[in-house]
């Protein structure tokens, strides 16, 4: 693959990335695709299984209408290929010979059983960077363990610290276990490409364990270090802190608002405001003054007073009026709140993507703003839409060969 510079306004060179990843790694390919890599989703001829995942746009099922598939595959291309047939494997090797990167998340050993493991593929392409994203990694006694989002959240300890101290460990919403591994994979792939193309190094194999990636997502609490040094297990603190008073989420007139009083000055400001609004003199009690932990003995009383105050305002009112008093109130946003948020609107976060079946919808693309570079704006691909361009145009298969592969169910 000749090495090209990125186009004007694009961050990444048009690296050829073959994306075989399921939900465990699909976000990695999306990040690279959104920032300019040529990511080709290689799907089974019947389509990636997530094309069947509800909810569907307009509640009408169909392989081009899954919200999940549409969200996680922006700016990618699509080819179909049966990797379990020998013809499909032969064609995949040709594709891999022209690729810079291969991402996969199959059970450990599956790629090898197909004859498509890194050692085989690199003989045809020594510069290949291959990255596997799996629940527990490629080695170690747990490598073959079955996992799901819930199991990964449990194994990494995420659940141990989510929820109420008196209740069970809780799952964090929206399959959060699928982000840390995929994001670490993207960073590692970028490092490997820089090594190859800027330092003259060879290609390499990258083994990402979702469990390990997730553990790095709470190194501020570093549960293993807390155990090693102090014999303490970091645990759940609930919606409202018992150490910093008040800190947490409280009901407002129209939803939830989060608040945190960290400094004595902030408490002065808040208690004065609460008194002005509620007329309740108890809040000015000298015993409550001081640093955030000085109020711990009065947690229940203060929390009740805070709720009496927050429920008199909308979340928006507290957010903005709080800033005028140097207080941090942060709305606990719903999805519709995000879509109407003026800050996101001003910061180039939403893009209207027009998809032939799903119509025009607003998608969030990219996590940074830049005057020099911006994300691509292509919607998710239709199943196999790039078969002709890639198998025919680039690999040079004739129309007859393509028709025959299609008839056999290989593509």
């Amino acid at each position: 693959m000749p090495f090209e510079a990125p186009a004007d306004g694009v961050l990444l060179p048009p690296y050829r990335v073959l994306d075989l990843a399921g939900p465990e790694g699909v976000f990695c390919g999306k990040l690279l695709a959104d920032y300019g890599a040529d990511v080709i989703k290689v799907e089974p001829p019947a389509g990636d299984p997530t094309r069947q995942r509800p909810p569907f746009i307009g509640d009408q099922p169909g392989p081009e209408r899954s919200a999940y598939f549409l969200f996680y595959n922006t700016n990618k291309r699509s080819v179909t290929l049966d990797l379990e047939s020998s013809q499909g494997q032969g064609l995949f090797k040709k594709l891999a010979a022209s690729a810079d990167v291969l991402i996969e998340s199959f059970p450990v050993g599956y790629m090898k059983s197909l004859g498509l493991d890194f050692d085989t593929l690199k003989t045809g392409n020594p510069g290949l960077v291959m990255c596997s994203v799996t629940p527990f990694g490629q080695t170690g006694p747990w490598k073959d363990f079955q996992s799901t989002d819930l199991i990964s959240l449990a194994a990494s300890g995420f659940m141990q610290i989510t929820g109420d101290p008196d209740g069970p460990p809780l799952r964090q919403g929206n399959e959060q276990s699928h982000f840390p591994g995929a994001q670490h994979a993207a960073a590692a792939i970028m490092g490997a490409l820089f090594y190859r193309d800027m330092q003259g190094g060879p290609g390499q194999y990258i083994d990402v364990s979702m469990q390990e990636a997730m553990i790095t997502y709470y190194t501020d609490a570093h549960p293993a270090l807390a155990w090693m040094q102090r014999g303490e297990n970091v645990t759940r603190v609930g919606t409202n802190s018992t150490l910093v008073i008040p800190l947490g989420a409280y009901p407002s007139k129209d939803g939830w608002i989060s608040a945190g009083i960290i400094t004595p000055r902030e408490w002065e400001n808040l208690s004065q405001w609460m008194y002005e609004v509620t007329g309740n003199e108890d809040i000015l009690n000298d015993a409550y003054k001081g640093g955030n932990q000085d109020r711990a003995p009065y947690n229940d009383i203060i929390t009740a007073l805070v709720i009496d105050f927050t429920t008199r305002f909308t979340s928006e009112e507290l957010f903005h009026q709080g800033q005028e008093r140097n207080l941090v109130f942060i709305p606990v946003n719903t999805v519709p709140d995000l879509l109407s948020d003026p800050q996101l609107e001003a910061s180039n976060f939403w893009f209207d993507l027009d998809h032939a079946d799903a119509g025009t919808l607003k998608y969030p693309l990219g996590v940074f703003d830049s005057e020099e570079v911006s994300p691509g704006t292509k919607p998710a691909p239709h199943l196999g839409q790039d078969n002709d361009a890639i198998f025919g145009g680039e690999l040079g298969l004739s129309e007859t060969e393509l028709a025959s592969l299609h008839a056999q169910g290989t593509i």
């Binding site: 990125p6 690279l32 909810p55 509640d59 919200a67 969200f71 996680y72 170690g140 006694p141 996992s147 799901t148 194994a155 659940m159 610290i161 989510t162 929820g163 809780l170 799952r171 964090q172 919403g173 982000f179 960073a187 970028m190 490092g191 490997a192 490409l193 820089f194 090594y195 800027m198 003259g200 790095t216 997502y217 709470y218 190194t219 501020d220 549960p223 155990w227 090693m228 102090r230 303490e232 297990n233 645990t235 989420a249 009901p251 945190g260 800033q323 941090v328 942060i330 946003n333 519709p336 995000l338 003026p342 996101l344 910061s347 976060f349 969030p364 990219g366 996590v367 703003d369 570079v373």
Partner: protein, 360 residues
Amino acid sequence: MANPKKALEGVRILELGPYVALPMTGRILASMGAEVIKVETNKVLDEMNFIPAWSRGGGQPEFQRAKKRITIDVRTPDGLEVFKELVKVSDVFMTNFRRNILDRWGIDFPELRRLRPDIILMWQTGLGGIGPYYTYKSYGILVQHMGGVSLMSGEEGEPPATINTSYSDYHTGVFQPVAVIGALMRLRLTGRPATMESSIFKSGALTAGPAILDYQSTGRTPQRMGNRDPFAAPHGVYRCQGDDRWCAIAVQTDEHWAAFCRAIGSPEWCSEDSFSSLESRLADQERLDGLVGEWTAGQTAEDVMTRLQEAGVPASLVSQGKDLYESAHLKAREFYRPTRFYLADRAKPAWEWQGEEGIA
């Protein structure tokens, strides 16, 4: 024929800013071989050194690893001059201070670019560097609630569940290396540098995911459903022997269900009609969870996990710090490596700080 170089060898990165996301970015880039210089002052040290609940400084070994660490007070004219000299010889400058604070200190992005025309600037913010909230004060542990995921977490009808860390900080921290390495590559290939501004708010909001499209199309908003799942039952955590010990179990397919029943000794209730399909198990979950809980209650979480995994059923104990530290799996993978770190002491110059052995 080992290549002597590391991936980012020869790249110098200046890191100015405390807490989690930015130091995490620096840590990843440093472990890839970049020379990352963390700039602090002896008067204003990264608060992460002092978080009382973690008296050793939460995650300090992790955040310090492989970096150089210097103290310059950029608020003094001499300090600012030294800082500017460093900018002239750096490839990347990363900071997470708000613009009004950088202005007060005399750190101005266009001027940095004049000092070093090809410098890559990575500016990380809480709520955003432009737009209506750019001067707003914020705390990361609260900003994570803006992203939409908090209201998808927790029991149905209960307050949103919060996580005892600020996960959206990490989304930002782990994504930024992609942006920085991409910009370095682009600079070498096109000669054009980039200024990039990220925010914790946006990183969190991006992970609200498909629900954003679903809302626009159907008007639905995601509901909290505790540990339950629309595509699996039993699905949840079940209490085991010991203090706060739990095992998570996720039975998704018919094969999982058959294997689960065999693994627990095929009790009579397993063959009831009301548990024969996913639909029927979902409809009778309350009772099903009770029965599964009776089976787990007498065993250790490790035993439940092992027995189910041997049968091919997705299961895991809910790991505590002790489990993670002692994990044979993580040890076999050399996940933790010893690393030296320094305990900050405001009363002493940095070169007199005490070094300690930690893990990262």
